[in-house]
């Protein structure tokens, strides 16, 4: 995995600020994406913007409440401030979602591995030719958004075709609708399926895996990025392998509760992985395919 943009834990900045000290950021805009997902744009109070690879995450602090891992959902190519898309599921995410423009949020990171779509990633299993299939379930599109931006831009410059397959519970829970339309305009094939339609919904109803059959990619040369709940990733990865996609060219994003984000506390261990360091993005082949299908002991 490429690691050059990870925080160096042995260093502190000139003020003696260590890796556990958040950098203060101001909320410069907020957007209510769906009923429970808020997109926060953050600018540092001082110093440069963080450089982040698509798929990496930050630890965000809602002061007085707590700290949680949230993926960066903006793309390196985006000119504006760094963005995080937060789903309100509990205390800390609720506080983050309720923050207003001008509020301060603490940011530590970026942490973890990435989707291997950066231009300088010369050994990337994803960019070594052929079509790229991106599968996202629910808020799982947030960590993938930056990667899709990169892939679509590369496809326009002659890179492999991009297929974006989205699954959501209901039409109202589909995130980044504007991006989906823009990616489609820029040549990507975007297919969406929901579990439960609504009277207005004219699209597909069924599991995200049902989109695979008529997406139209060349499985023998394809690579895939998958992010969503683990059951969704398991069934999606298996379906891709059954179609002939090389499991070594499938990446999934595994999430466990994070504390230090630095590989120190062991909180995020899953099998042989310390996921804040070795993940969240890991290859599906080998041990991960077993981890996804076995009950944890």
């Amino acid at each position: 995995m490429s690691s050059d943009l990870r925080l160096d834990v042995t260093e502190s900045d000139g003020d003696g600020r260590g890796a556990l000290t958040p950098i203060l950021h101001r909320v410069v805009s907020r957007h209510q994406e769906t009923a429970d997902v808020t997109i926060l744009a953050l600018e540092p109070l001082s110093g440069p913007r963080l450089e982040v690879r698509p798929g990496q995450f930050n630890m965000l602090t809602a002061f007085g409440v707590g700290e949680v891992a949230i993926s960066v959902s903006s793309a390196p190519r985006d000119p504006g401030p760094i963005q995080h898309s937060v789903r309100d599921v509990g205390q800390v995410t609720h506080a983050l979602c309720r923050s207003r423009v001008g509020d301060l949020i603490g940011v530590r990171g970026p942490f973890g591995t990435d989707w291997r779509v950066s231009l300088d990633d010369v050994n990337s299993p994803i960019l070594s030719g052929g079509d790229v299939v991106v599968m996202a379930g629910g808020i799982g599109l947030a960590p993938l958004r930056g990667a899709v931006h990169e892939l679509v831009a590369r496809a326009r410059e002659g890179g492999g075709r991009v297929f974006v397959l989205i699954g959501a519970r209901e039409p109202a829970q589909i995130v980044f609708n504007e991006d989906l339309a823009a990616w489609e305009r820029d040549g990507a094939r975007v297919l969406v399926s929901v579990d439960r339609g609504s009277p207005q919904w004219r699209g597909r109803v069924g599991l995200v895996t049902t989109l695979l059959a008529d997406a139209g990619f060349d499985a023998s040369s394809a690579a895939a990025l998958i992010c969503g709940p683990e059951i969704m990733m398991r069934f999606s990865a298996r379906a891709l392998v059954d179609m002939g996609v090389d499991p070594h060219r499938i990446l999934v994003s595994l999430e466990r509760n994070m504390q230090c984000g630095l590989g120190w506390c062991g909180h995020c261990q899953l099998g042989p992985f310390i996921l804040c360091r070795d993940g969240p993005v890991v290859p599906y082949a080998g041990v991960v395919s077993h981890l996804l299908s076995e009950r944890e002991r």
Binding site: G138, G197, V205
Partner: protein, 156 residues
């Protein structure tokens, strides 16, 4: 040159692995059909005498409720089989199937297929195995959709 019915049937996933004799029996009960967008392939309550092997276009499987109107419970596309009720008494459809766009399909006469399956048990078993695979896949998918698959996962 137009494709023969045998070619059409052979190109559908339901015929994968079937021998020439079995395909010929299937072809004997088949005809090529087309539907316009919004047209019903199957109508709830009607007698289930024909089912469809989809070749192109998507179809919405709908049920009706008095308060909420037509509810789409699933959409299916090329390669799918639409309709199982021809297999089991009382041979009556329990849902609507509506074309979402122009649809091309192979219509199979269910009564004709049942008769051939009874007189040729090997063929009957082969057909039942095919149908069971698709039924199982759809059942698995339905079970997964009963979970809030894209919602919260309880993380350790």
């Amino acid at each position: 040159m137009s494709e023969s019915m045998a070619d059409l049937v052979r190109s559908h996933p339901v015929a994968a692995g079937l021998g020439d004799d079995a395909v010929a029996l299937l072809v004997g009960c088949a005809k090529n059909v087309a539907f316009n967008a919004d047209e019903l392939l199957i109508s709830e309550g009607a007698s289930a005498d024909t089912f469809y092997l989809l070749r192109r276009g998507h179809v919405a499987i709908e049920v009706h409720s008095p308060e909420r109107g037509a509810l789409v419970i699933e959409t299916v596309g090329p390669g799918a089989v639409v309709g199982w009720s021809w297999l089991v008494p009382p041979y009556r459809w329990t849902f609507d199937a509506r074309a979402l766009e122009p649809v091309g399909a192979i219509a199979i006469d269910g009564a004709c297929l049942r008769t051939k399956a009874l007189s040729d048990p090997a063929f009957g078993f082969a057909m039942l195995s095919k149908v069971s695979v698709e039924l199982l896949e759809r059942l698995q998918a339905t079970r997964l959709r009963l979970l809030d698959l894209y919602g919260r996962t309880d993380v350790q």
